[in-house]
């Protein structure tokens, strides 16, 4: 590695987070200083965001910038920005969760987990990709256990950990097949270095005929399906979300899922979106089944946390619809993921805001539908914020959720005539998938409506109180306002994610030596291709 300073520079935001997390971990030992952990975390997040912004400015033209283990593209900037923004909200929402003497560990773990997501997007090596995904997951296992003194939290931790380890092993096994096929762990090689890369192997015309590649891809897909909670690997979701404290569940809806989808984008970009029949219909089935099963199971729940857990399965299904559409769907996925992360966090924040009397004179976060009865009449503003987030999850007008669904279905329909790497039969399949999707959205509306109905139509439950935590209140309001803003100006977020995606698609095209627009730009000197120096 001859240019370590460049690597360190490219990793500056993550380094800030990790170093900051370590400092918080140390300070947490002190009784007095432990209280500032959350605020300190916010400071590091802001610092990381600043560093990310500077990096993006500095290397704006350099796409892709590849040093052996890392590859810096506009996607990285987007992922960092969204992770840090939502991450700040996650920190605020979790303000009151940990016990006094555990604040340090708790907030440090959140920062570790956040830093993992951006590493997923910057990784250029399967090993690093795997480590980054585990850096996202491992802290979440512990966070669940830390968040509540409850037997169910312990159960959730155990379940999540063992299944997570199983999925990670599956993914790693898949990576080993890819390594076997390609003979290298490097995902992208710099254009002029003459080195082998996985991209070359996977994007070959009939790469998927090679059983090694196919098995490798399927196993990887299986491992990532666990992260995004797609249907056959969704079983843990309800128990884990129920076991964790509500703010942590809100985090679980975003952090592993975002990392999983970014990893999926990375892997599929390696195939240059040449799905072939088998993988296309596999993804198709995965999307359709995930939406349907998620929504159906959510419909049967009376526990709001379990309901939102299964709905998060369904939302993964919607995003898989866009992924099935191929590279045109990426923008929609990034947009949806961001909006979904905020809406979902807002819903869980509201659950945490409404308290019910629990054991030992302690109040607990609302959990069952009945606990929310009449909540909006007691607390009109918090009720309104919850209603906005729930309407957003429903995909209703006045919320960013509408545009999320809109972009996803537009992406899916825009390949309905075939085109790209898809045949005409695939195009028809996409239309059917969109119809399945909208019918699912209607099913989803049925159970989200139950939350609204309970909050607004019923008489207030006895003994309902509200959380005193100011950070929680502010973040709940902020989530609701962001959801509204994503409706009023969806173009902003959409354009940002489109830039990120164009980075991904250009990179693949460029490295394959195709005569793309990007390469012409490169010939004209608009893009500098930095060869690796070793």
């Amino acid at each position: 590695m001859s240019n370590p300073s460049l690597m360190l520079e490219l990793l500056a935001p993550e380094l800030i987070l990790v170093v900051g997390a370590s400092i918080i971990l140390l300070l947490g030992l002190s009784r007095t200083l432990g209280h500032v952990s959350m605020w300190l975390g916010l400071v590091y997040v802001a610092g990381a965001a600043f560093a990310a912004y500077r990096l993006a400015e500095q290397y704006a033209g350099a796409n892709p910038l590849i040093v052996p283990a890392l590859n810096h593209s506009p996607l990285v900037f987007y992922v960092r920005l969204v992770t840090l923004a939502v991450g700040a909200l996650i920190l605020l929402v979790n303000r009151h969760v940990p016990e006094d003497e555990e604040r340090g560990e708790f907030f440090a773990l959140i920062l570790f987990s956040l830093s993992g997501i951006s590493l997923v997007s910057i990784a250029n090596n399967l090993i690093l990709l795997f480590l980054a995904l585990e850096l996202v997951s491992v802290p979440t296992y512990i966070l669940i256990g830390l968040s509540r003194r409850d037997i169910r939290a312990q159960e959730a931790t155990g379940k999540y950990f063992f299944l997570g380890a199983f999925a990670a092993a599956m993914m790693l096994y898949g990576f080993s097949f890819l390594y076997g096929a390609a003979g290298t762990m490097t995902m992208y090689a710099a254009p002029l270095s003459g080195k082998a890369s996985i991209l070359e192997v996977l994007s070959a015309a009939d790469a998927l005929r090679d059983p090694l590649v196919l098995i490798g891809l399927l196993l990887t897909l299986g491992g990532l399906a666990f992260k995004i909670a797609a249907v056959p690997l969704h079983f843990y979701v309800a128990d884990v979300y129920q076991g964790a404290a509500s703010p942590v569940s809100g985090m679980l809806g975003f952090v592993p899922k975002f990392a999983g989808f970014v990893a999926l984008i990375q892997i599929f970009a390696l195939c240059n979106w040449q799905f072939g029949n088998a993988v296309f219909w596999l993804m198709w089935t995965l999307a359709a089944v995930t939406m349907t099963v998620g929504n159906t199971l959510a419909l049967m729940q009376h526990n709001v946390k379990r309901m939102l857990a299964y709905s998060s399965v369904a939302h993964s299904g919607y995003m898989l619809v866009a992924l099935t559409a191929g590279s045109v769907g990426l923008t929609a996925i990034l947009f949806y993921m961001t909006v979904y992360g905020v809406m979902n966090l807002g819903a869980f924040a509201a659950l945490s805001f409404f308290r019910k009397p629990g054991l030992d004179d302690q109040d607990e976060s609302a959990e069952m539908l009945d606990d929310l009865a009449g909540a909006a009449r007691r607390h009109p503003w918090a009720g309104l914020a919850l209603a906005i987030c729930v309407l957003g999850l429903m995909g209703f007008p006045l919320t960013g959720g509408l545009f999320g669904k809109f972009y996803i279905f537009s992406a899916a329909l825009s390949v309905s005539g075939g085109g790209g790497n898809l045949s005409a039969a695939h195009g028809t399949g996409m239309i059917v998938l969109v119809v399945v999707g909208v019918l699912n959205a209607a099913v989803g509306a049925a159970y989200y409506l139950r939350i609204l109905a309970t909050c607004y139509l019923r008489k207030p439950a006895a003994g309902m109180t509200s959380s005193e935590c100011r950070a929680l209140r502010w973040s709940l309001g902020l989530c609701a306002m962001l959801v509204l803003a994503a409706f009023l100006q969806p173009g902003f977020l959409f354009n940002v994610s489109q830039k990120a995606v164009s980075g991904v698609t250009q990179r693949t095209g460029l490295l394959l030596g195709k005569k793309t627009q990007a390469q012409e730009d490169a010939n004209q000197g608009k893009i500098s291709l930095r060869p690796s120096t070793d």
Binding site: P380, G417, I431, V438
Partner: protein
């Protein structure tokens, strides 16, 4: 003044929304102030709507042929000028009214203040939220009628669900939650399928349109796309089904009407009034605005099927209304029957039928809205709507009896009142529908018209049956008797007369002299119809010959006797184009589309 005329539609839509927001924020207002505020805001909205129609007439007089609609407001909302190369999305905030939407805008702005005024005694809890939701609903409904961008239309269309959901769910009867849920889920399921259709059209515009790889939802561009023949017949068929899913449930067309009686019965009076008078019209308006002009091929192909469902709905609704013992349910089922007429007139694809259909929307709004108001007034006094428990009220409440009979007659279609004009035109259109449209028989005909006409007879039977039982015979009051606790007198109070009298006057006016309204509507209806007729012409004969043009002109202008036979105020030749050179056909489209058919 010019600023006002440039932004009048935005003002009309957002004034009630702002009014609602203020109500939500000022939690300390007492009930009286809240009521006055809501009534004031809605009256101001009515004033603005009237101003908008004056400006509309002025603008139309100045530039008759320049554009299809007036009072345009346009603003880029989402994207539009993106150069990243990927498929961008362009959504506009674009408003405008034409002769089809303007009458409905005025109807909405006219009935909502009356519905609000009518709730003063009926609503006793949570005033602030109630009136805020009413105002929000008003804004959303006006938005649907004014939108000239398909996605904007859809957003307003769907948003109307939320206020009404809460209106039914909070202030409704004993089964309110069930009714609200059923209403919400049922209509949402349909409109989500419409959503898929909307996106598909946007995508089609992005690959065929002149906009170049941009999803666009501008109605003008989509109309251009349709009249350029960019949609193959299979696509039209599926898109029609997608739109049908949303609109037919909203209308509601038999057999998708099952949510309606429950929602009507459980809704508070004002909710029923708005639901029947305006929200159902969103469905018929959707057909008229989107399905007919954009999917002409499928419209002609499917018109007989829809006509059949409409006829079944007419008779089924009437028979079902006949056997009801609950007055409100009776009026609710009568809506199913009446809206069957509305769709029948629309899908007979004759000018007379279309005019009748649009008039029917307005007339049904007035008379059924008023009937629901009266049912609400009786309910407030006796806390029952069962016909077996009340009777002979004409003696106790003569003024109420007068109004009930007026609106019953209007609903039955007594000549001289508004219902007659529209019913007559709809049936006429259906009768002559089978006559040739350019050497091809039209979709409907006498076999649709005869059973539909029997629906009128049934309508007279069930309405008069209801009037007889409620108003005449020996006086019968429920055991708990008359309840004046809300400050009501036995007969109608001045406030209640003030609510019903304007509606009655409108009914009378539209029955005697519907010409001004029809004059506003007809040019745009003719334009809409031309899209459809155009399709048949393209299939049927050679439009280059003058014979083709003449027969088309005859097909469009055949209209009833001397009462309506006056020279058309619009230029029919303008929208009809020869096949060779459709005006908005992008050059690459002709070859791109050739393979589809």
């Amino acid at each position: 003044m010019s600023w006002l005329s440039d932004h009048i539609l935005s003002l009309v839509i957002f004034l009630p929304v702002v009014g609602a927001a203020i109500l939500f924020v000022f939690a300390s207002w007492d009930a009286v102030l809240v009521r006055r505020w809501a009534l004031g805001v809605s009256l101001l909205t009515l004033l603005l709507a009237v101003m908008a129609s004056v400006l509309f007439v002025q603008e139309r007089a100045q530039n008759t042929s320049k554009s299809d609609y007036c009072l345009v407001e346009k603003m880029n909302w989402v994207g539009g000028d993106d150069d990243t190369g990927a498929r961008a999305v362009k959504v506009q905030y674009k408003l405008g009214v034409d002769g089809i939407s303007l009458p409905l805008v005025v109807l909405t702005a006219f009935l909502t203040p009356l519905a609000i005024w009518g709730s003063f005694t009926g609503i006793q809890t949570r005033h602030r939220e109630y009136y805020a939701l009413m105002l929000l609903l008003l804004g959303a409904m006006l938005g649907v009628f004014c939108a000239r961008d398909l996605l904007l239309f859809y957003i307003f269309f769907e948003f109307t669900l939320i206020p009404l959901y809460f209106l039914i769910g909070i202030w409704g009867g004993s089964q309110r939650q069930k009714a609200a849920n059923m209403f919400f889920i049922y209509t949402l399921t349909g409109s989500l399928l419409t959503f898929a259709g909307v996106i598909y059209l946007g995508w089609k515009a992005s690959i065929c349109g002149a906009t170049g790889h941009v999803f666009t939802f501008d109605l003008d561009e989509l109309y251009g796309l349709a009249s350029a023949g960019a949609l193959s017949s299979t696509e039209q068929w599926w898109l029609f089904v997608a739109f049908f899913a949303g609109f037919a449930i909203k209308v509601p067309l038999f057999p998708f009407h099952t949510w309606l009686p429950l929602a009507h019965v459980e809704a508070p009076t004002a909710g029923s009034v708005i639901l029947a008078a305006i929200l159902l019209k969103l469905g018929t308006y959707g057909f008229l605005r989107l399905s007919l002009p954009m999917l002409p091929g499928a419209t002609i192909e499917l018109a007989p099927a829809i006509g059949m469902l409409a006829v079944i709905g007419i008779i089924y609704g009437a028979v079902a209304a006949w056997v009801q013992s609950d007055v409100k349910k009776l009026v609710a089922y009568s809506s199913v029957s009446h809206l069957g007429f509305c769709l029948l007139g629309m899908f007979c694809l004759k000018m007379a039928g279309l005019t009748g259909s649009l008039l029917y929307m307005i007339n049904h709004g007035l008379s059924t809205g008023a009937l629901f108001l009266i049912v609400g007034m009786i309910y407030e006094r006796y806390h029952t709507r069962e016909m077996s428990e009340i009777g002979g009220l004409a003696r106790k409440m003569p003024i109420m009896a007068f109004f009930l009979i007026v609106f019953t007659m209007s609903s039955i279609g007594l000549p001289g009142l508004n219902g007659f004009v529209s019913e007559f035109l709809v049936l006429l259109g259906t009768f002559i529908s089978a006559t040739e449209i350019n050497s091809k028989p039209g979709p409907l005909g006498i076999w649709y018209a005869v059973p539909a006409a029997s629906g009128i007879l049934l309508g007279a039977i069930y309405m008069l049956h209801m009037v007889r039982r409620v108003l005449f015979g020996p006086v019968k009051e429920p055991a708990h008797g008359f309840d004046g606790s809300a400050g009501l007198t036995q007969d109608l109070t001045k406030r209640e007369i003030g609510i019903l009298a304007p509606i009655a006057l409108c009914c009378l006016f539209l029955g005697v002299y519907p010409k001004p309204v029809m004059q506003v509507m007809e040019p745009d209806l003719a334009r809409g119809l031309n899209h459809v007729v155009w399709e048949t012409v393209a299939e049927a004969d050679d439009p280059e010959t003058t014979g083709g043009l003449d027969s088309r002109r005859a097909a469009i202008t055949d209209r009833p006797g001397e009462r309506l036979s006056r020279p058309p105020v619009y230029d029919l030749k303008e929208p009809i184009r020869p096949t060779g050179q459709p005006s908005r056909l992008p050059s690459h489209l002709a070859s791109a589309n050739g393979g589809d058919e």
